[in-house]
């Protein structure tokens, strides 16, 4: 589903190279964990996959379902089924959460040539998905993410993911700032979305989240490259020994 080939990318504004020859393949149905120390380029990779304009790809390619997505803007990528759950979702005063959800769902449907949702159909979907994530309906009446706690923001991201039904889900440190109960709810939400034709990339610092969202593959990112790949045992090894050994081997 996703094939990243020798990717090099830098910050557009100052030219700092962050991703330096990254290779990664994620298949449909797979849960891939990306781990790595601070500053290794994990979040940057998620932004580049979603099409954020602050980064420039200078070399290599990103193939999604066999086609390059480098020329697509973030909205086009989203409509094709790429979803990034942000580590720090922004608060947008004045934009009502429900209105936002409806517009996002319908714009994606329009882009795919599908009919827009009727209001009752939309309301039903939101109600069901929110209940599963134990999201208080009062939260949905507030402006987008405004005044949400850290945990509420993460749940709201997963709610969006559930409603938008993406093919490639990227979770950027979704576990940060969550207590154990919230972590379970969020993990259940992600697990409920696992299907044979959907892939999940979980970016995390800690093994903790991977106890609930069990990865098929684990990749260690360091200085903008994948320096080691393995199965879920690799995450346990990292938890026990830290990154120093692996970084030492790679260097």
């Amino acid at each position: 589903m996703l094939e990243i080939k020798n990717l090099h990318a830098r910050i557009a504004e100052d030219g700092t190279e962050i991703i330096r020859g990254l290779n990664l393949t994620v298949k449909a149905g797979e849960v891939a964990a990306i781990m790595g120390p601070n500053g290794s380029g994990k979040s940057t990779l998620s932004y580049i996959l979603s099409g954020r304009a602050d980064y420039e790809v200078t070399e290599g390619d990103i193939l999604y379902n066999g086609e390059s997505i480098l020329e697509l803007d973030p909205a086009e990528r989203a409509s094709k089924g790429i979803f990034l759950a942000f580590q720090y979702p922004v608060e947008i005063p004045g934009v009502a959460t429900m209105q936002f959800l409806k517009i996002a769902m319908n714009e994606q449907r329009k882009a795919r040539g599908e009919d827009e949702l009727t209001t009752p159909d939309f309301m039903r979907r939101v109600k069901e998905a929110a209940a599963k994530l134990k999201i208080d309906p009062a939260m949905l009446r507030r402006p987008l993410n405004v005044g949400f706690s850290g945990g509420e923001k993460k749940r709201a991201e997963i709610l969006q993911m559930a409603l938008l039904e993406p093919q490639l889900c990227i979770l950027d440190e979704t576990d940060s700032g969550l207590d154990i109960d919230a972590l379970k709810i969020v993990a259940d939400g992600v697990n409920a979305l696992k299907t044979p034709d959907r892939a999940v990339i979980v970016i995390t610092h800690y093994q903790r989240l991977l106890e609930y969202i069990v990865p098929d593959t684990v990749h260690v990112l360091y200085k903008g490259q994948v320096i080691r790949s393995g199965d879920k045992d690799l995450a346990l090894e990292l938890e026990a020994n830290g990154y120093a050994d692996i970084i030492g081997e790679a260097a």
Partner: protein
Amino acid sequence: MNIQTINRLTPAETALVEAYTAQVGELPGDGAVIGTRDRLLDDLKKSGLPTRRVEAWHYTDLKSLLRNVPAAAPTVSVDAIAPLVGDAQLLSVLQGTASEFVAIDGVEIAPFAAALSDGSAAAGLVALDKDDAIGKINGSFVRDGYSINVPAGTSVDAPIEIQAVHGAGQVHTRFPVTFGAGSNATIIERHQSATGEAAFVSTISELVLEEGAEAVFIILQQQGADDTHLGQVRVKLGRNAKLKLFVVNVGGKLVRQELRIDVEGEGSELTLRGVNLLGQETHTDVTLVLGHNVPHTNSTETFRNVVFDRAKGVFQGMIRVAPDAQKTDAKMACNTLLLTDDGEFAVKPELEIFADDVICGHGATVADIDKNHLYYLESRGIPERKARAMLVNAFVAEIVEELEDEKLVEALEGVISAWLEKHA
């Protein structure tokens, strides 16, 4: 009459003088009113239209911006339009003349022309100061409008819409409104071009809120792309009175909205909000002069401006706190979204504080759309154009939502979305 040395008149000034000469015989007014009109016009002729050298007009050089003034055309025929909110009670002014209207329960209403004819309006036809060009122009030319009195203790449920619709020509209207003690009403003052042909409009509203009155007053300026709109609101706020004053500018070529507000009663509260949507090659100036003249009064002033194309905007906000106006609490903010390189917005906040125990502050921001907000919306599949429109809408919707009345909020948001749809 002594003729003093006067500046050479500009074409616009000449047109005003000629329009006056042509109309003075048929403008309503008794001897006192005509005498006042003559004096005001004479004064205007002597001072000329204000230039940038006049402090209050520094950013709006009316003499150079007002290129010409169309001839008065009082017989042009236009029709009233649907009210902003469905249940509003309509008072229309068509091409500057008050229409026949349906009486509104509990409210005293009379065409302003009547007050001109019987002379009772003469005392109010004044310029507030030597630079009050709007006072001079409107005082000279005013033809009609409505005098509205909401008697003490009266609650008017449905909003009243004063609807001034015009075609080409000149329109000069005046709306004195008294909200009696303990009364409660919502009034919408709407200015709209019916044809889009150039018009020159001056209008003055005089709001008096007596003790404990609560009023919502909304000015919705939807003039045409070639119109000049010179508006002034004179407000006197009595003891424990509460006024929510909303000014929405979504039209006009050359616009000046002056808000001259005197907070004169202890315990009174002013909520002033403004939305200015500016596009094309237009010039829009909102000038506030707010006097907190007595102790224990509150006010908040918030303006949100969006600038497209080559539009220019001005906000001058002067708050004066009188020496004995202790415990005044006033907060002013002016936030601008500047969406083009060719647009401009000038902000001049001024605080003159003569009392020592007050809270008084102001803030101004000018920014583009927040890139992080835009990226977030796009990352959810909302195309850039749509995402931008949502964010611009959100920026002004926050202000409109403060009106609380759902129908009004919805109607104004509709006006705003329609404007953005056309200009963004």
